[in-house]
Symmetry: C3
Subunit: 130 residues, 3 copies
């Protein structure tokens, strides 16, 4: 199963929680979300305050400088690659009674670091047969 999204900025966090929830078919087990891109990532955090995803982007922008890396001689996006490795392209979430066991303040975010681009998230469910 796959989800497709279109990012609109170079760097942004996009809430994909409801898109993932719609895909869940198993009753109990785990779901793995995998981003097949080396300049993007996936994370979980709060979205009740829309400023929080902006803060996360700002933090990464400040810590990983742009334009100072060896790879920038070939393709000016080394910072996006480093951010991808820091946050990671894969996350696994438990499922119970067909629902993601996210906490009250947890949403799933696709992290764009080199947009705007069309992006994909691969969803893989594995049943837990007790």
């Amino acid at each position: 199963m796959e989800i497709f999204i279109q990012s609109k900025k170079r760097e942004e966090l996009i809430d994909i929680t409801s898109m993932v929830e719609e895909k869940i078919k198993i009753s109990n087990g785990i779901v793995n979300l995998f981003v097949p891109h080396a300049t993007a990532a996936i994370t979980i955090n709060e979205n009740a305050d829309p400023n929080l995803p902006l803060d996360i982007s700002s933090f990464l922008k400040e810590k990983v400088k742009k334009g100072i890396w060896l790879h920038d001689r070939i393709d000016n996006n080394a910072d996006a690659h480093i951010k991808s490795t820091l946050i990671g392209p894969s996350i696994t979430i438990p499922v119970s009674n067909k629902k993601l066991l996210l906490g009250t303040w947890q949403n799933i975010f696709f992290c764009e670091f080199d947009g705007p681009r069309k992006r994909k998230i691969i969803i893989t469910e594995v049943k837990n047969e007790a």
Copy 2:
């Protein structure tokens, strides 16, 4: 399956290895540990030297400043949210013969970034039927 813990400080790493080990029921497969909180995380590192979890807390405290973020206007804990995304709320560990395949120097730590609070870790096992 769930584990409950009570953190005692705002920021601390709490070794939960033995609590997780007690819950393992499968013979072979993987176990996913998931923290349903947006101001906490889970990691694996050494606990032979009790100074090491303190060093990890110090590193994060130094890198993620407190009180300078947009979200701090609403709830003064943006630093805790950013740390949660940096370390991550989910980790998956292989199991063989009913034992976690942790290395000699690896322990599992719950990472508290906005305590003291009562916290939960969700444990999900998935069998590997070869």
Copy 3:
């Protein structure tokens, strides 16, 4: 299943993609890669430009200073432990038709932070029986 590698430097990223691909036996599901070491990690990024893994090592070296931590009094490698927690020792990748669903620009890297050493990666497959 296990892969063994020998790192040659204190800090380096070693591409293990083909070694992992050779081990895949399941048709569909997920594969978990786990590094049972507290001074190493695993990540996914681009290897088309060999400078990119060097940039990632440089970034971590710059951000996590050496020799200033409490743990350094016992064993002079606290920086390696902190890097291990930042990048993480575990990654889960989807498998379809016996192939890893990596993106075009994604390779799997073992991250050495305290080499040279002989190191192990544990590979655990879990089938997705739809």
